[in-house]
Amino acid sequence: MALNASTLNIGDTHEEQVAQNLSRTQIVQYAGASGDYMPLHTDELYAREIAGYPGVFAHGMLSMGATGTMLTNWVGDGRLTQYSARFTRQVWPGDDLLAKATITNIIKENGETLAEMDVLTVNQDGQSVISGKATARIDA
């Protein structure tokens, strides 16, 4: 289901819980699926003793991927034309992530109608972990 320009307004939002009590196993699962085996994310001993972090933390790309779930659920499959994220804070095992998109603009370009949106994902303390933008083709 795609969004439609006739019913979509600037300021409209959509939010979804995209992680709940994020498990170390899901971080390992992401490492295996993406091929990014950086020990900071999967190797507690390395993360603490070599890198000096309190422990392992999630790949930024795991949070961006999880946030992408909220986007495609809202705008439809194959509808995104652009998606970007800044990783503003680390995500730790046990975190809950709430992802939200807000329409900032609706434009016409090369015969297509596009919705531009701000993307924000926060942890259980309301701290931003991803701040990004996305653009999707919508029906006119």
């Binding site: 993406s34 990014d36 070599i50 795991l62 779930t69 495609t72 652009q82 994220a85 990783f87």
Partner: protein, 171 residues
């Protein structure tokens, strides 16, 4: 500029979607997908990250027969440096300070199982910044293009990596 081939198959799309917690059937159910607007299984928005599996020189994957910088018996598998050559230990220290700062995708065409993508990577800008939580931070941009068999752009990915002066504090 590095170049390699990225074979996209249905099982990899399914595993990737699972790993980001996405249960949308468009990523694994052929029958469901055939009745949708895109007409078949497609890859999720951040899927091109999995091209790392096909990058012959990807540094964040253990290389068979070589010491890995993650833990084994000790916290790092790399031997302490000899006094005159600090390369290996420096490598381990630098890796520990590397983080992903930003990522951007521009989507030109959906990625589908069976696609053979040609991946080309080039360096973009680099810059430095003083950070409150991470000390002196060195940023560098990498631009990766994914093209299909007919040479058409499928996805353009821009990644910004940062090497921090110290472990990023949590305040």
């Amino acid at each position: 500029m590095a170049e390699f081939k990225f074979q996209v198959d249905a099982s990899q799309i399914m595993l990737f979607a699972r790993s980001v917690g996405d249960k949308n059937p468009i990523y694994h159910d052929k029958e469901y997908a055939s009745g949708t607007e895109v007409g078949g299984i497609v890859a999720p928005p951040t899927f091109v990250q999995a091209s790392a599996q096909y990058d012959p020189k990807f540094p964040l994957r253990p290389t068979i027969g070589e010491a890995w910088f993650g833990s084994g018996k000790e916290a790092t598998g790399l031997k302490p440096k000899a006094k005159e050559s600090g390369d290996k230990e420096k490598k381990s220290g630098d890796s520990a300070r590397m983080l992903h700062a930003e990522q951007q995708y521009i989507y030109h065409k959906p990625i589908r199982p069976g696609d053979e993508l040609t991946v080309t990577t080039k360096r973009g800008k680099s810059w430095e910044k003083e950070g409150r939580r991470g000390g002196t931070m060195s940023f560098s941009e990498t631009i990766t293009e994914f093209r299909d068999a007919s040479g058409d752009l499928v996805v353009t990915a821009t990644s910004v990596g940062v090497t921090t002066g110290k472990a990023v504090s949590q305040d």
